[in-house]
């Protein structure tokens, strides 16, 4: 019995280099020469797919195993399809509308497959075509009637007809011959990376998130990109190690790892830009209008962020006025029009944060001086006026928010350092180093157990429930740490029946914007060149959006320039001569 079971396990023993294996009772291989027990167990191959219920050992089908390690043939796009399916299911669990999966994302995906000539298209001449019968070649597997075709894993409405008949894969099998020197578990892994990226927008892992966001945007779900990415990082949406959800027989190795293994957190800019490229690539029509009642409208988002930043509700009035004045609340400005290069792409979340910052600058100036002065006045008034609504004190707000932010930031930094990147399912580049990888994995698990016991804290605390608020302030708290109800009266004055800010001045973050297309940025942010208060506010929103302060700064500059456009033109002419001598970093200007 032993003989038979161990016949095909012919790796050398790591300790004595002999090939003389026996099986322990636990099904592990041990070396008969030196009694070294390996981590390697008798492999139980895909019990789901095996017709007879008897457990198979790896001795079965030596030839086939050498070819693709007991796995089936699969294509990279099928992998991505699975990833998308997992992601959209997670989004559904988070509460997005159920139509998104089948009606929106699925169609986007099909459209992508067609446009990138991977499926749903006529076979290009001269290329051998392989019909998508995914597991056709693996013999005893086909008999299972339950087995879904991989493309069907994304559930399709019945009327769509049988996918298997109308789609075809253009990836030619002749190209992906078995003698391919570059190694991959999938059929087209090596070919995939060689494809011309410009012509065919190549699918990548960050792009799966672009797909998700595109679909979310289409159905106008109340979720921003920064939130989506935060949910990904917090593990509510599969992304890291998503390959562990692949079926057993889809073996990943070689170049597949390059495609599916993610070794960094998704970055806002990348996902955002890819989403726009994708929208253009798919030739999508104009997206549904973003109107005032939509969550993504700046007025709505400002309200959310004002709450989260613990700022007075009264400020909303001001953000709305700014939004209206510069027309960034217009449907045409906000709605995504794929392929339209003339309009600037809107980052809804960043835009709203920037509007709030501009309003703070309008009212408080944030020059490290004026806001403290106002705060002192407010403090005095609060002292004299113990009854009724409290005046907003910038200093108190700063202290409360700073304390809270520091704690959260520290926690986040520690979480980043403690982030576990690996999952149960180990991956290996090639079969050659499989045993090494497994051994190493085992050791890591052992060490984790050993030091986990010593660490005292409970290992891997439960995932926190997803929440769209990272900081929360409640008026019910009696410690006065909530500023939502505080009044701005002290800093406003009435003139001609209109409330105006007491503050008569304004300073611009930059006089001249850069060319975004050439330089990548509208403006350039250096902490030392700006007031501390301004930096603090940027930092606060940078934390909330998990995005670099400089991106928010860019947006602030953009808004300022729209706001002061007329005044700026005059001033610029006046200053041209001056600027040639020395370019001033900031410039003061009278507000509206």
């Amino acid at each position: 019995m032993d003989e038979e079971d161990t016949r095909d396990f012919n790796e050398r023993c790591a300790q004595c280099s002999e090939v003389n294996w026996g099986l322990t009772d636990g099904g592990r291989f041990y070396c008969r020469s030196c009694h070294n027990v390996t981590e390697r167990t008798r492999e139980v191959v895909n019990t789901d797919f095996i017709t007879n219920s008897r457990v198979q050992t790896i001795s079965k089908g030596l030839k086939k195993q050498e070819k693709n390690d007991g796995g089936c043939e699969w294509y990279i796009c099928e992998g991505f399809q699975l990833v998308l399916k997992k992601q959209v299911e997670a989004l559904e669990a988070l509460g997005v509308c159920p139509q998104m999966k089948d009606e929106i994302l699925c169609n986007f995906w099909r459209c992508y497959l067609q446009k990138s000539k991977q499926a749903y298209c006529k076979r290009p001449a001269g290329e051998t075509v392989k019909a998508l019968s995914v597991c056709g070649s693996s013999t005893d597997v086909d008999s299972d009637p339950e087995r879904p075709s991989l493309l069907h894993l994304l559930s399709l409405s019945e009327s769509e007809g049988d996918l298997q008949t109308d789609c075809s894969f253009t990836s030619s099998v002749s190209k992906v011959s078995e003698s391919t020197s570059v190694y991959s578990g999938s059929v087209d892994g090596s070919l995939y990376l060689m494809k011309n990226q410009k012509e065919n927008l190549r699918m990548t892992m960050p792009m799966t998130l672009s797909f998700c966001y595109l679909a979310l945007l289409w159905v106008r779900e109340p979720i921003t990109l920064s939130e989506l990415l935060r949910f990904v990082i917090e593990g509510h949406i599969p992304y890291m190690n998503v390959f562990q959800h692949f079926p057993e027989k889809m073996k990943l190795c070689g170049l597949d790892l390059k495609i599916f293994c993610v070794e960094s957190w998704p970055v806002y800019e990348e996902v955002f830009n890819k989403m726009h490229e994708l929208a253009a690539f798919l030739d999508l029509p104009r997206f549904p209008d973003i109107t005032e009642s939509c969550f993504l409208h700046p007025d709505m988002l400002c309200m959310k962020y004002l709450m989260e930043a613990n700022l007075p509700d009264e400020l909303h009035n001001w953000t709305c006025r700014v939004v209206k004045k510069i027309g960034i609340g217009e449907v045409d400005f906000l709605t995504l029009m794929p392929g339209n290069k003339s309009t600037r792409k809107v980052k809804y979340d960043v835009l709203a944060a920037a509007v709030i910052i501009v309003v703070l600058k309008l009212l408080f100036l944030l020059d490290d001086h004026y806001e403290w002065l106002l705060s002192e006045f407010a403090e005095e008034r609060n002292r004299n006026n113990t009854e009724g609504g409290r005046y907003f004190e910038f200093k108190k707000w700063y202290e409360v928010v700073k304390r809270s932010l520091d704690v959260k930031q520290k926690k986040l930094d520690e979480e980043k350092a403690k982030y576990l990147w690996r999952c149960e399912k180990p991956l290996f580049y090639s079969v050659k180093n499989k045993s090494k990888v497994l051994k190493r994995r085992q050791m890591v698990v052992n060490l984790q157990n050993q030091f986990g016991k010593l660490s005292g804290s409970v290992q891997r605390a439960e995932k926190p429930n997803p929440s769209s608020f990272q900081l929360s302030w409640s008026e019910e708290n009696t410690d006065g740490s909530c500023f939502h109800g505080h009044s701005l009266k002290g800093i406003l004055q009435e003139k001609c029946g209109l409330l105006r800010a007491m503050n008569p001045d304004y300073w611009l973050c930059t006089v001249k914007l850069c060319n975004e297309k050439l330089c990548g940025h509208l403006a350039h942010y250096k902490e030392v060149e700006f007031p501390q208060s301004y930096h603090f506010v940027l930092g606060l929103f940078s934390f909330l959006l998990r995005i670099q302060p400089s991106y928010i700064h860019d947006e602030v500059c953009m808004i300022e320039h729209r706001l002061f456009n007329k005044k700026l033109c005059k001033k610029l002419k006046y200053n041209t001569v001056l600027r040639k001598l020395k370019r001033p970093k900031t410039s003061s200007i009278k507000p509206m």
Binding site: S264, A417, K418, Y429, L447, Q450, L454
Partner: protein, 466 residues
């Protein structure tokens, strides 16, 4: 060259701009012909700023390591363990290529945590060590040694011995040869443990031998240990290095079996071979050995002379000074004065009554005989501007008087002679001594007063000025 520097500086800025400028500053054709074409360095990728923000595996683990180090410095072993739990993943870095992992980091940090953590047991420690051994062949023997040290600290001598024997027989292709030094160390430590066993047997035999229980077998066994220990110890001390513990044990073995010549040779080699790093202990061992052997003063002095050169503050300097003072040769007596002065330059000797009495005795002798006053003068010259504050302050006078009367006596004598009868230290101590009606202190005052002119001469003042 000039143009190269400029181009280089501009390189990190936007390419478009750089091109324009270079065109503008094109050098004359003749000059260009002489110069090799300019090779521009690589620019960083455009999206460098966003990459900085991107958290990836490497950055995450680096941050983790920082947290571990912070926790270690603050002795927060639990917290360190917590982060190490996450850090061990870095062993797996890279699904594909060859592994260059932070395994050494994990070995060292893990050892530290397990050693200090209140909840860790030796069994777990050994288990950890076994894993670390398989993790890096390149430091297999180092890990073995470290493991042995910890076993020894924990009193598990037999396990330690076993581990050493096992490590000694380890073979791993080229690695065995590369870790040649470690093998030598492992053998040496095994020798040391053999020595311990020998020493135990010897003690047993000495205790029971007189009772007539001496067992031939025990004695045989003891000699066996001797042979095993001697072979390995002899090997290691041939290699230049600091081998104090091995040398001591080896010499002990040789002396027990009467091989004094070999012992002498070993110690000589250890002390005088220039290939070995300077090591005060080598001379100390040699000195003690010579003393045990009843060797001549001359050889003892020469051993201590070198020690004095390396460590002027060594405790043997008192012995050295005593020996030199007794010498008939003037030069040696002068050296004695030099030695004791030098020793007292060190704060560690400040309150050493023995040393002060040595100095006082010699100074007094010189002053009374009025011969070789220049010796004192010579020593005092370099010290006169800092010794008064260092040794002879009023505060010290008070404290010495309270804590140690005889110390204050010796010091007051020296102070009185070197600084004159008006010095604070002398004045305070002699006053207190007289008040307490101690005969010794009255004598002290007499001596100093009588020889006051001498002290003035030492200070370099002419007598007439009094």
């Amino acid at each position: 060259m000039d143009s190269f520097l400029e181009d280089y500086e501009e390189a990190p800025s936007v390419v478009v701009e750089g091109k324009k400028r270079r065109r503008r500053r094109r050098s004359p054709a003749t000059q260009a012909a002489l110069q090799p074409p300019l090779h521009l360095p690589f620019l960083p990728p455009q999206s460098a700023s966003s990459n900085e923000y991107k958290l990836n595996f490497k950055k995450s683990k680096e941050a983790c390591l920082n947290y571990i180090q912070d926790a270690l410095v603050q002795k927060q072993w639990k917290r360190a363990a917590e982060f190490l739990t996450c850090y061990v993943e870095s062993l797996e870095k890279d699904y594909s290529r060859e592994h260059i992992g932070p395994s050494e980091m994990i070995w060292r940090i893990g050892t530290e945590i397990l050693w200090h953590h209140s909840q860790s047991r030796m069994k777990e420690f050994s288990c950890f060590m076994e894993q670390m051994k398989t993790l890096g062949v390149k430091r297999y023997l180092k890990v073995c040694l470290e493991h042995v040290f910890h076993l020894l600290c924990n009193g598990q001598i037999d396990e330690a011995y076993q581990n050493l024997s096992l490590a000694e027989s380890w073979r791993f292709g080229e690695q065995t040869a590369i870790q040649d030094k470690e093998i030598k160390l492992i053998q040496a430590y095994r020798g040391l443990l053999d020595y311990c066993s020998w020493s135990k047997q010897k003690k047993f035999l000495l205790e029971h031998g007189e009772d007539g229980f001496a067992d031939l077998a025990v004695e045989q066994e003891m000699h066996g240990y001797f042979r095993k220990a001697a072979v390995n110890l002899k090997e290691i001390i041939k290699i230049p290095g600091v081998w104090d513990v091995f040398v001591k044990c080896y010499v002990d073995l040789l002396e027990f079996y009467g091989d004094h010549n070999e012992a002498h040779q070993v110690l000589n080699e250890y002390a005088y071979n220039s290939k070995f790093p300077a090591n005060p202990n080598a001379h100390v061992y040699l000195y003690h050995f010579l003393k045990r052997q009843g060797e001549s003063k001359k050889s003892l002095i020469s051993a201590l002379k070198i020690l004095h050169d390396i460590v002027p503050s060594h405790e043997l300097m008192i012995d050295f000074n005593t020996m030199l003072q007794k010498s008939k040769k003037r030069k040696k007596r002068q050296l004695g004065l030099e030695v004791i002065f030098a020793a007292l330059d060190y704060a560690g000797w400040k309150e050493n009554a023995k040393a002060w009495s040595c100095l006082a005795r010699q100074v007094k002798q010189i002053v009374i005989s009025e011969k070789h006053l220049d010796w004192i003068k010579q020593e005092w010259n370099s010290r006169k501007d800092w010794w008064p504050d260092f040794h002879f302050s009023r505060y010290l006078a008070k404290r010495n008087w309270q804590e140690n009367k005889s110390l204050s006596y010796e010091k007051a004598l020296v102070a009185g002679i070197l600084l004159g009868k008006d010095c604070k230290y002398f004045k305070y101590v002699s006053h207190q001594g007289c008040k307490a009606q101690l005969k010794r202190f009255r004598m002290l005052k007499k001596i100093v007063t009588r020889h006051n002119p001498v002290s003035l001469r030492i200070c370099g003042l002419p007598d007439s000025s009094v």
